[in-house]
């Protein structure tokens, strides 16, 4: 049932899934963060950005309806690169924040000393 979760949030077919039991069943399988929120919105945002970016860069031939093999490989590479890029940036983010916290702690330590 929850394979259709994407259609849930895309709005057009929410009617069938509005019953509380269906929502409950769907929610049971979703990962929850510590505030009890679902990161689905974030995922959708990332999905949209990624799709748009890779489409703009890779799909160039509009003389046919079919997606050409080159475009398929290009999209796959684009996806891999994007994911690796986001992983790398997340790592740097975390490192930066750890650094900041250490610096703040050091400052607080220095301030607290002359008592």
């Amino acid at each position: 049932r929850c394979g259709a979760l994407l259609t849930l949030t895309l709005g057009s077919q929410t009617r069938a899934h509005r019953s509380p039991s269906a929502r409950y069943r769907c929610r049971m399988r979703e990962p929850v963060d510590k505030y009890g929120r679902f990161p689905f919105k974030e995922f959708l945002g990332t999905y949209n950005r990624l799709t748009e970016s890779c489409f703009l860069d890779c799909v160039k031939d509009f003389t046919t309806r079919e997606v050409k093999p080159e475009e398929v490989t290009c999209s796959e590479h684009c996806l891999q690169k994007y994911l690796k890029m986001t992983q790398r940036i997340s790592m740097r983010f975390q490192e930066y924040h750890i650094q900041q916290n250490e610096a703040l702690a050091a400052k607080a330590g220095l301030l607290g000393q002359p008592r």
Binding site: D57, E76, H77, Y96
Partner: protein
Amino acid sequence: MMANTYNRVTSACHRKCVPYHYKEAELSKGSSVCLDQCASKYHERMGKTLTELFMQDEELMKKTQQSSGPI
């Protein structure tokens, strides 16, 4: 705010560092280094800008207090 910053860093560094030709699925060495530098520059810049804004605000506050002090 963190998520917003993260999104901005990601899209900015993607535009600047990752070239449009997706010949292979791996990030090239140059792109990786570029991403690291991009992220750290962004943070440095943001941190400095925030600090400057904060200092300017403080100075402004002090000035208004001083000017309104002796009545």
